[in-house]
Symmetry: D2
Subunit: 165 residues, 4 copies
DNA sequence: TTTT
DNA sequence: TTTT
């Protein structure tokens, strides 16, 4: 159609370790179960309420699969950008089913770990808050070499790194 | 869980006129079918490919329902911000089904018409490119002292309202 | 203009404790300095590079100001949704200056703490990963009649509020 | 810092035709002036108010520059995804200045035309509502085995390309 | 079922 | 300087 956008942004926690499968020709596919939740106080009763939503996240991007496999564990908090896709399938009884997933496949998919918890079982490894950028399959931010030359004055690098992050 | 985000952003076209229902206590619910699509050229064959995705959008917000009812028609291009929700239901045969929808219900839902096409049948009305802001149901003052001309804070008025809300 | 969107999404860390000021009529304004950074490996040299960007975030929303004041400290990791605004001002020498800020003021602003670090000095308090929702100034339920499981009726209060708003 | 996100989403109109410059080594840079605006009705006076915000958008991505050059004109409505960057420069009088821009440079930048208006002067050309994807500079195969018809993973081809990239 |  |  064009002029079209299909984007999902989630910040949530993994309900289980990632499941990694492989296609016949060897490419990895990672499946994540991600929970988001909202809490509010009931207007009438004053009770604290909570609603948790579970999302099926499927990663076809090879670099992001590797990240998922190596660093994500049950309980990890993640930032995800993907797109909505609904697929049809048939269960054992022959009944038609539809499943909607958040798919990370395109150039503009992002998977970032927001904490460094090792999760349920595994030995963590990856440090807290280490960046995992997005789409490891391609170039990446591509340095900003042209920043210096043309634009007025010295680059656009407001680096104040006395701050110890 | 908290520290959690569940956001869907769509720009797409309505596949049909909105369907408006009412709850027993009179509140409106609007259902939209929104198509997004992406096109690309096949790496190998060089063919032009297209993939269309259909989204179920459900609007519980009363103001946005009114907008949908009055101004949106089949074919209209819309900008939508909502959240993902999956609900379980049982069909006539007793089989359990799940349906995932993009829900516009919270304070941060947005529905904006991006063109003024009258669509399939109906007589348009609402002007091309008119904004329809988000969540017209409530507000809350407070202002932005340093901003010279600034919309009321807490207001949900990115709207063009000759519309009587 | 209408049919228009102006949205900024940041996940970053506070470079300093929030600064809270008050307008003459007593409303709070919070200023945050938020750093985002990206790292990548240089194509040619193979070196690891990093670029940090500093953002000025201004909160006019009263509830979010309180959150900032009470729970955010230097070093805290936050999720922010706001809008871009550029304002003109004149410095002491009479020179015209422009400053671009990420403003949290409207209904669709969000401020969420993504960790529970107490930051540079202060004693934390707010627990890790607690959500702080958006726009605490307003509310208004509305339920989700079709949602099968009765519980998740529709609050618009992505907040965790043992916090007394 | 890591675990960081810096994203701007705009839907607005071009205030002027794009300005295209070239670096010494021949790479194009496109500058856009994009207006977003919000309208609301004043709580007290009942007057209709409007606030327009002007954004400086800079495109370093070569494919997107070409799109801008060939298809965008004054008045065009666009969808933009980029990131915030502030750069420092010195004016003729030696005064230090800062300018904040929405930069389209990374893999996850998007520029999509939302209408087909030819704008102020020029002869249109590009059809209404054609998509123009994001970051045409690279790609990378891998596919989506379960998706019946699916765009190549890792590809950045939300594009309609009779355009020869 | 939309759109190009 | 756009758009409505």
């Amino acid at each position: 159609m064009a002029g079209s956008v299909n984007k999902v942004i989630l910040i949530g926690n993994l309900g289980a370790d990632p499941e990694i499968k492989r296609t016949q020709d060897g490419r990895p596919i990672a499946n994540l179960r991600v929970a988001t939740s909202e809490t509010w106080r009931d207007k009438n009763s004053g009770e604290r309420k909570e609603r948790t939503e579970w999302h099926r996240v499927v990663i076809f991007n090879e670099g992001l699969c590797r990240i998922a496999e190596q660093y994500l564990k049950k309980g990890a908090k993640v930032y995800i950008e993907g797109q909505l896709q609904t697929r049809k399938w048939t269960d054992q009884s022959g009944a038609e089913k539809y499943t909607t997933e958040v798919v990370l496949q395109n150039f503009n998919s992002v998977l970032t770990m927001l904490d460094g918890r090792s999760g349920g079982g595994g030995g963590g490894g990856y440090g807290a808050d280490d960046s995992m950028g997005g789409d490891f399959g391609s170039s990446g931010p591509s340095s900003a070499p042209r920043r210096a030359p043309a634009p007025p004055a010295g680059g656009r690098h407001d680096m104040d790194d006395d701050i110890p992050f």
